[in-house]
């Protein structure tokens, strides 16, 4: 017998009765409650605790309560006895007045849900006693039947290891509800449907997290799905429903609009109503066990519907149906919690709403086979975004055909699953590691000469590797060359006559020339600022063939962490079916060390313009092994003086003098000799003697 308890701040924890005021500091999901007096602790996983209503939620089921979804917490008192507290807010029986038909709240059965049997029709729901268990959440004028009202004073009865019948005294603010003892009444609690209009445009995880963070009660959304443009899920308690209503118009979206949340009573959600019974679940577990490979931690559920173990027992596992998918996930979570590989091929899946729960239920999955299903858009696949997949199979889904080419397909998939290594059995282009010599600007000046050569080589290597992939026809390999928050933008010249625009139209769409693009939103849009956005944008540009020999590179800024250089050159556009066009470009890169041996690009600005055929005739024809570079060689005092002297003596300008000295390792005498030799042989071009303007 437990002592009677008072209503108070802590609700369920008042079970301790007149003991000290407990401020439960709950650690959600961790299975314990902190700050309790020593003699009381919770041995079950506690999912949530609402100090206002005092309702504890737990996900565990007791040993002798099966097939029964209730929330409860188990307490152990110092006398060693175990007490279970069951939390459920099923309202007292009886219809409420003012409860008009809620037909209009229900959606018409849409074809989309036919197969999965998702229906929200106002079927005749009765609980076992045949009475309606519906709550009108809105206070009617007639009766103040607030969701938190309760009945007469009752004593608390404690049962050991049994169902607890608990009520709370008090007036006004209720804390407990009367429990029902019937263990089979899975559908006793009142259900509410929560609708977010236009919810389809928000990222599901963001939306649910936002709602949860503002909601005073922890809730578990059931059967999350989209109805036309709205998002919808179900919750079970009037208190939860009420708390969710309070969140309406409190969340702001990206455009600073308030997001409404509509809560209405509803029938029991499909997956709950059609929940597979315990015997079926046992059979399902057996069938799954036969399909499970322990050594690989892999579960093969392809063509599950036709599994002889299931068909024979009259179990129809149509995975499009919410209840089937939910049952499957339950089995996996309980029996194969560390699953690595899941095969769902050939199950006619056309939506992944139900499967998306696996992201938090079984996050260990790294290999997923969704091939030969009916997924027809990336939007569906994006619901699985939370999984850290390394291998994915998608072929045989309509969505694969919706991409214009392989590289956009790859980019889209990689964006969804950035750690992916294999897609449809093929290794993805391996990440580019641009090796480097560590640039360091901190060494004493004597080393600067070597440094600049080192830097030069590094840049040349970088360019070679970069353009090898860039010209290869598949630019997705560049993903790892970019910092994950790198910036890229593309511009073309703005001519008032608009002459060049027509031929540069492939670039125009993405051009961010600020002289032309005045709209700030568009400007923001055209600045790609994540590596996956960048690679996606690059993959869309025409295929190219760069002439590395034409490259003129200016390395114009350098610190210990930053290297900035510009490449001027030409390239050919080599699109199938059209004549090759030659373009001139200037591309500025800012790179930074990513690790001790690799670099990554933080900024990339590409400017493309038409090239005049006359001027580019020489390009693509004369093979010159390495591009020429001019660099900000930070010359030491001594070197600068040498350059000056050499210039005066030879008559060459500073640039050429410097080059000559550098080529001869700053050996003044030798440089002089080399110079004289070349001069007599007439090998020095005129421009070497030209004064720099």
């Amino acid at each position: 017998m437990g002592a009677p308890f008072k209503r108070g701040y802590d609700g369920v924890l008042e079970l301790q009765a007149q003991e000290e005021h407990l401020t439960a500091c709950l650690k959600l999901g961790a299975g314990y409650i902190l700050n309790l007096p020593k003699y009381l602790y919770c041995v079950n996983k506690v999912e949530s605790y609402n100090p206002y209503s005092g309702i504890l939620h737990s996900n565990e089921k007791g040993k002798n309560i099966t097939g029964f979804q209730k929330h409860y917490a188990v307490f152990k008192k110092p006398d060693g006895k175990v007490y279970k507290y069951r939390g459920d807010d099923s309202s007292p029986k009886g219809r409420n007045e003012g409860w008009s038909s809620f037909q209009d709240h229900f959606d018409k059965r849409s074809p989309r849900y036919e197969d999965d049997g998702y229906e929200t029709q106002p079927s005749h729901h009765c609980d076992d006693d045949g009475s309606m268990v519906m709550r009108n959440v809105h206070e009617g004028p007639k009766e103040r039947h607030s969701p938190y009202s309760f009945q007469s004073n009752r004593r608390v009865r404690w049962h050991r290891e049994g169902n607890i019948h608990v009520t709370v005294w008090g007036n006004g603010k209720p804390v407990m509800r009367e429990m029902r003892e019937n263990p089979q009444d899975g559908a006793q609690g009142s259900w509410f449907k929560v609708t977010i209009p236009h919810g389809i445009k928000y990222d599901k995880i963001w939306l649910m997290n936002s709602i949860q963070s503002l909601c005073s009660v922890y809730f578990t959304p059931v059967d999350f799905h989209y109805v036309k443009n709205g998002a919808r899920f179900f919750v079970q308690k009037a208190s939860t429903a009420s708390a969710l209503m309070d969140v309406s118009y409190k969340i702001y979206d990206e455009k600073n609009q308030k997001i409404p949340i509509f809560v209405n009573p509803s029938a029991v959600p499909y997956s709950v109503r059609n929940k597979l019974g315990p015997e079926k679940m046992e059979k399902l577990k057996l069938a799954f066990s036969k399909r499970f490979d322990v050594s690989q931690q892999s579960l093969d559920l392809q063509k599950l519907r036709f599994d002889p173990n299931l068909v024979g027992h009259d179990i129809e596992m149509i995975l499009n149906r919410r209840n089937c998918m939910a049952a499957a996930l339950q089995i996996i979570r309980k029996n194969f919690p560390e699953l690595l590989s899941l095969n769902l091929s050939c199950n006619k899946l056309y939506h992944l709403d139900g499967l998306s729960d696996i992201v938090h239920m079984v996050p260990t999955i790294k290999i997923l086979d969704l091939s030969k299903n009916e997924l027809n858009s990336m939007w569906e696949l994006n619901k699985m975004k939370g999984l850290k997949l390394e291998e994915l199979w998608l072929q045989g889904n309509p969505l694969c055909d919706s991409f214009p080419d392989q590289s956009t397909y790859l980019s889209a998939i990689i964006e969804c699953f950035p750690k992916l290594l294999r897609l449809d059995g093929q290794e993805l282009p391996s990440p580019v590691v641009i090796a480097s010599h560590t640039p360091c600007a901190t060494k004493p000046s004597k080393e600067t000469c070597k440094e600049s050569d080192t830097l030069k080589n590094m840049i040349l290597q970088f360019l070679k590797q970069y353009y090898l992939i860039y010209d290869s026809g598949n630019r997705s390999g560049l993903l790892s060359a970019y910092h994950h928050k790198a910036c890229f933008s593309l511009t073309i010249p703005f001519h008032s006559e608009d002459l060049a625009l027509s031929s540069l139209c492939a670039y125009f769409k993405n051009s961010r020339n600020m002289k032309k693009v005045k709209d700030p939103d568009l400007r923001v849009q055209q600045l790609k600022h994540t590596n996956s956005d960048i690679v996606r944008a690059l993959c869309v540009l025409p295929q190219t063939q760069h002439d590395l020999s034409s490259f003129l590179v200016d390395m114009w800024f350098q610190t210990g962490t930053l290297l900035c250089f510009s490449v001027n050159g030409v390239f050919k556009e080599v699109e199938e079916g059209s004549q090759d066009c030659v373009r001139a470009f200037t591309r500025t890169f800012i790179i930074t060390p990513a690790s001790s041996s690799s670099l990554c690009i933080v900024n990339d600005e590409l400017f493309v313009m038409e090239a005049s055929p006359k001027n580019t005739q020489s390009a693509f024809s004369i093979p010159v092994p390495t591009p020429s570079t001019s660099s900000v060689a930070t010359l030491s005092e001594e070197q600068q003086q040498m350059v000056q002297a050499f210039s005066t003596q030879s008559g060459m300008n500073c640039q050429w003098s410097q080059k000559c000295l550098q080529d001869n390792e700053w050996n003044y005498t030798r440089a002089g000799q080399v110079f004289c030799m070349f001069k007599t042989e007439g090998k020095i071009p005129e421009e070497a003697f030209k004064e720099i303007p």
Binding site: P493, M514, A584, N603
Partner: protein, 124 residues
């Protein structure tokens, strides 16, 4: 941020040939020639003939702080045509890094580095 950059570009070209906009240790690479330090820059600009610039393209990007060690920096890229007295018209590309110098009252943007090149491949 955008507006500031646009203003600075206009300022730059109107104030061309002065070294007011440069950091003390700024460097200019002018068609491959290196000019470092305010004094050298001042001399350099003195020697440049008078010019007429027409800017046809402007773009800018913020530079990630990992590379700049939290020194707010912007990459600005421009292109257009220029005609120096006594020379023919050239297409040019110019890129520079602007860095913010904050004082108690305001923020001044200065050029940390500048790279200018005639563009000879362009169709004229």
């Amino acid at each position: 941020m955008d507006k500031r950059r646009r203003v600075s570009v206009t300022d730059y070209y109107s104030l061309l040939n002065t070294s007011l906009l440069y950091l003390d240790k700024a460097t200019l690479i002018w068609n491959g020639n290196v000019v470092t330090g305010l004094e050298a820059l001042a001399n350099f600009f003195d020697m440049l003939p008078s010019s007429e610039f027409q800017v046809n393209m402007l773009d800018c990007q913020p530079v990630h702080e990992q590379a700049t060690q939290a020194q707010t920096t912007v990459l600005v890229v421009t292109s257009g045509t220029v005609k120096f007295d006594g020379n023919k018209q050239h297409y040019f590309n110019q890129n520079f890094l602007l860095t913010a110098q904050t004082t108690a009252n305001n923020t001044v943007w200065k050029i940390a580095s500048d790279c200018f090149r005639f563009q000879d491949w362009a169709a004229i």
